[in-house]
Structures are given as structure tokens and as C-alpha cells.
Amino acid sequence: MRHSMTFRGIPHRSSACRESHYRGNRYHARAALVALGMVLGVSQQALADNYPSKPIEMIVAYGAGGSTDTMARIFAKYAEEELGQRVVVVNKPGAGGELGWTYLANADADGYTIGLINSPSVETHPFTRAETVAYSMDDLQPLANVVTDPGVLAVAADSPWQTLDELVEAVKAEPRSVTVSHEGVGGDDHLAALNFAGDAGIELNFVSFNGNAEATAALLGGHIDAFEGNMSEAAAHIREGDVRGLAVWSSKRMEAIPDVPTGEELGYDVMSSASRGLALPAGVPDEVYAQLLEATRKVIENPEFEAELARLNMPLDPLYGEEYVKSLEASQERFKALWDENPWIEQ
């Protein structure tokens, strides 16, 4: 028996082990478990004590060079200073973020794997792809929101419509005559445009594009009438004057495009944005979670970090811990209700 214990690598001098030696087989298993628990408990404590003792992997569920990736790499640069360890960005793009988030959800919950999650996709995939999706929001432990990039509805500078109301009038006169771009079914801009059309009681003609570049080229070339996208992508064109922002779907006007009215000001009940935050696999030790939260807070409050994001037209929107969890839950509930009522992917 002693031999077998040695083989399992549990130290002889553990009292639990010695006890089991006298009481026979039934207790042996239980004692071994206790011993194992103690060893694990110690290592867990040790892990939290000198965390982080090795480089941290940061999962980005989109390709290198995209806006999520750019933000992640800037964040990683500042986080390295706070944590005293390398933060290595690993891209796992595919299936609209699903591959990367599945990987994150299944990673070891030891604090050495963190990841970026993009809302609303991260909370809508589990019910829009219920049959195939391999993670749920319960597998993820949200840490903090960093950026909230509101949706923008825009037209080309030479468009006849000066305001959102004029566009609505035009569609009412001739339903489905106005083409609007979005960047993928079920993405935040598609949902925003659906939401707006529903609220205004109009029917829009949606045209799907692969990403912002193609959609912007089509808008500037006059091939589509309107563009639904995110502010960080449209702001430069709006400021240059070749694109006119008709509405921004946020609660207040945005600093980067101060002349564009909010949907609320214009009388539309539409709120939409793409948010980028950080999350961990569920079950990370509390101490590690607290340490990461603190480091994240310091990065976000660093004025240099904010300045770098401002250059990319990415508005900071810090939400920490519980607050962030609640906002994700609220958003999931809202989209679930919308989905149940009128699914945007035919089933």
C-alpha cells in the first residue's frame, strides 16, 4: 500500500496518508482524496500568491490587424506593465468569434488565459446557433468592458437626404427602395438597422458586405444608398465630409462626431453598439480575478491608453466585474426577446 501511495506521488508524511494505512481500504480512497485536495489547495494558494509567474495568453476571436485585434494589442502593451509578465495575443478567428470564445470557455481557469469578448455576438451566438454552438455564457467569467462603439447610420455626402426623417419619408413613399449595407447577418449593425426599420415602421433593402472597407467603397461609389456600421469605422469619413452621419445609436452624442444626432433626439428608440471587453474561463480563483480586475482598471484609467484609443475613434466605456456581467445579461435578454419574436436567421 505504501508503495502504491508513493507511486501516486503523495508524500508519506501526510497525516491523512498514515491514517489510511491503519484503517484499511475503504478509508484509503477517501484519505487519498483529502491529501490530494490539500496538495491542490496549497498549489492553488501558491498559484494565487505569485500570480502571474508565467506569460499570459490573450485570446482574440478575430483576425490579426482588425479593430478588436488592434485594441487587444494596445491593451496587452499596458497590461504587461501592470502585471509584470508578458501578455501574448493569440488570434483564433472564425465563425464570427465563436471559435475563439469556445477555446476561451474551455481553457484552464488559472488566469493564464484571458480573452476579448465582443458584444452582442458573444451573447447572441448561444441562442441563434443553439444546435452547433459549443459554449454558453455561463462558461465565461466577464472581467471588464473596455470599449463601446456605437452604431451609426450614414449616407454619402451627395445623397439627397440631409436628415434621418427625409430618408424615412423616402422609404415610406416607396417601400424597399433604399438599400442599406450591413456587415453580416446577426451582427450588431444588421440588428441595429432591423431595429430602426421596425421602430420607424419602414421596410429597408438590406445588402450584406464582408467588412467595412467594401461597404464604405460601395457607399462612396453610389452603389448603395445608406451604410450601417460602427462609429470607429465611419468617424474619419464623417469628419472628412465625404460621408454624412444621419444618426448615432447611443444615449448621448459622441465626441468624435459631435454634429451627428442620437437616435433618441430624433425620436427613435434604437440603441446599438459593439462592445469589446475582457473575460476569463469560469472558475478562476478569486484572488487571481481580483488581481486581473485591478490591473485592468489601472490600464483603463491610464490617460496614455485612453489617448491611443481616442486616436482610433474607440470610445472608452469602463464597466467592471458585476456591473459588466449585468450589462451583458441585460443585453442577452433583450436580444433573446427580439429573436423569439422575429428570428433574423431563418430556421
Partner: protein
Amino acid sequence: MDILLTAFANVLTPMALLTLVLGTLAGMLIGALPGLSSTMGVALCIPITFNMPPDLALILLGAVYVSSVFGGSVTAILLRTPGTDASIATALDGYPLAVAGRGGEAIGMAALASLFGGLVSVFVLLAIAPPLSTIALAFGPQEYTWLAIFGLVTIVGVVSERPVKGVLSAALGLALACVGLDAFTGLQRFTFGQNELFDGVPLLPVLIGLFSVSQAFNLCIPRDGGVLSGEAQNLQGRSLPYWADLKRCLRTLWRSSMIGSIVGILPGAGTSIAAFISYNEARRHSAFPERYGKGEIEGVAASESANNAVTGGTLIPTLTLGIPGNAVTAVFVGGLTIHGMIPGPSLFTQHAESTYTLIVSLLFANLMFAVLGLWLCRYMVAVTRVPGAVLGPMILLFSVVGSYALRNEMFDVWLTIAFGLVGYFMERWRYPAAPLVIALILGPILEVNFRRSMQIAQWDLTTFFTRPLSVALCLLVVLSLLVPLWRRWRMSRRVAA
């Protein structure tokens, strides 16, 4: 003019030149390795530029970009393992040349043609970028549909020897192009619940499998005929193409460089389309079209000048409109904005100095890879003397690592190996692999743009024939199909008479 002189002065500092050399070497290596694409090369360099002055950062990114496109041609010619889709067309004639012992010459031609194409496109960028950028906007979904059809027509040129097998290969490519989420409805098509397939069958694993892995199998399982099995017979030391060859190719070089520059301007069109269209045009205009695919050096010139001309072209909409011309320049935009330069007209006013420094540095980067390419050529050719049993496993190793690095997914590695087997047997049974890849690249472009056109035109098919640019492209397609037939008919009459 002052600003140009300042730009030259900026590039000719020791630090800038050192950055240029290092960027060029890194780019050539990235391009040569299967799986490491230009996009990934530039993306990997962006964190390095975080703490560099903006000018140096742009020089580094630019050098990596242009030289990685050239780097792909080296392995395409010597081993028939194109590192990126840009050099598939190069392999068609480059590899037979290498088998015949003329690999050095082919690389020399690739370097000079790339230099030619690169320089033409940089001069276009320098001189007439703003007016040309309107081309990017003039192309709507209808025109992209025609462009994709034009690209598919080039398959005819690649398969002229075995039309039926070529069409079957292209059909397989188009079928594979149907896999993935439907962009308009969000429905899953042929994904079999594999979420790795939601974005479609990924191009690079197919490319690496069909070309690199199958070639590795070929090298390990020697058969007679056509394959480099170690010592290339009568290897010639020559690394400069013959003057007569160069003179003969001059028209092709000009034509391909213009095609490359224009296709580059179109967002989403891609390097491989430019290379294949140019290759096909060169063959069509050649006095000896039957030599193509068997080691015609003009084919290498056409493909290489076109794919490097794309680099300057893609920067035109990127710098003037803020609309990236392809995936690499999209990453480029990220690099620019990190250094406080927002792509768009302000680049030529507010940040004119940095912008012109970038453009001038591209001139030097083109010269740099050509010089390095010609100089290293004789050493690189030595790879054809390595026995197949050594080379094969090495290619296999790089292919596996490269395909994993794409998305950090084991799925892609299995896919690569599976397509390696497919490629091996396709070659054995003489099915050309290039049509499959062209169709896989063009299929989604064709489908998405056709459906976009239909949605915009409310299902009115005449939209493809009522827009002036569409009509022009349509005529090009018809001509490129009919002219060879008409020529053959005229020839046969002449023979009869």
C-alpha cells in the same frame, strides 16, 4: 517637389536603410514559407513598430509587404510550393523551368519582373493616385461580378491541354466555395456542424495541401517524369535572364503591370486574380501559346510583374480614401492609425511627409528585394540539389506549422493534409490543381456580388448590361473567349489554302 526630396532624405538615413534591409529579408522569408501570408507578416510586425518613430514603422511595414509578395515566387519556382496564392500562376511555368535546370534564370526573371511591376505601380501611386482612386468607387457589385467571371475565364488558359479534367477541377473548387454561412441569410451550408467551416473552406489550407503537401509526397515517393528528385539535371549557374528573353517579355511586363495596378485598386479583388488574368493575357498574345505551362519564362514574367504591381495598386484607395484595397492593407491601416495617421485625403496634406516617405521607401524596397533576390539566387537554387527524401519531410513540416499558424486550429492542419492527398492523386491522374484554387477564390466573390447586384437591382437581370463599365467588362470576357477561336479558325483556313 520639396516634399519628395525630404522623403528621399528620410529613406536614405542609415536607420531607415537598415530597417529596409531587415524588413525585406523578413518579408522574403515570410512569403517563401507556406502558410505565412503577407497579411500575417505585416500583422506580426505591427507590435514591433509600437515604439518606433512613424517613418521607420511605415518603412518596415511597406518593405515586408512588397518583398513577401516576391518571396512567394522563389519556392513556387524551385519547389512548386507557392507560399501565397499570389504565386500559383508563377509555379505553372517556373517549376518546369527549374526541373529543366533553369531555376536560377526563372528566379532572376521573377525578381526583375517583380521589380518592374512594383516600380510601375509605385510610380502610378506617386503620380496619379487621387484620380485613379475613383476606379475603386466606380466598381459596384455588378462590375465585381463580371470581374469574377473574367477571372474564371482564365481557367480556360490554364487547362487548354486537358479541358474536361480542368473543368472538373474548377467545378470541385466552386462546390467547395459553397461551404459556409450564407452571407445574406445566415444559414449554414454544408458545414456538417463543424464551426471551423462557418467562414467557408479556408483557402490557405487548401492551397498548402494541394501544392506544398502533395509536392512533399511527390518528393518522398519518387516516380519517373517531371518531378525534381534531388539533383536537378544539368543545373545552369545562370541567374540573369537572357537579354533576348527580357526584350521579348517587355510588352507582357507593361501589360501585366497595368493589370496588376488596376486590379489592386479594387477592394477585395486580390493578388491572385491579377496574376491569373495577366498570365492568361500573356498566353493569349503570345506567338507560342502552346509553350505555356511547360516552362515559358514569359509566364513567370506575367504573373510576377502583375502580383507585385498589385502592392502599389492596393495602397491607392488605402491612402487616398481610407478604404483598404485588400487584407494586407487593412492591417496596414491599423498600423497607420496607431501612429496617428488616419488614412484618407489628410495623409497627403497633414502627414504628407510621412506618406511620401512611405511611397519612396517602397521604391527602395522593390530595388532591395530585386538585388537580394538576384544575389541570393545562386544559393537558393542549391535547394534543387537536395535529395527529395530530405526536402519532402521539410516541406511537410513547414506546411503543418504554417497551416496551424493561420488560425491556431488543428482542424486546419487535418484539412491541409487531406488536401495534400487530394492534390497528390489529382496530379497522378493529371487533373490540374490550379483551376480548383482559382474557383475557390473567385466563387465567393462571384456569388456574393451577384446576389448583392440582384438585391440592389431588385432582381432585374438587365442591370448587368446597362451600366457602361459592366458592358465594357462583359465585352472583355466575350473577346477573351472568342479571339482564340477566331485565330484558330483563321489559321486553319490559311493552312487549308
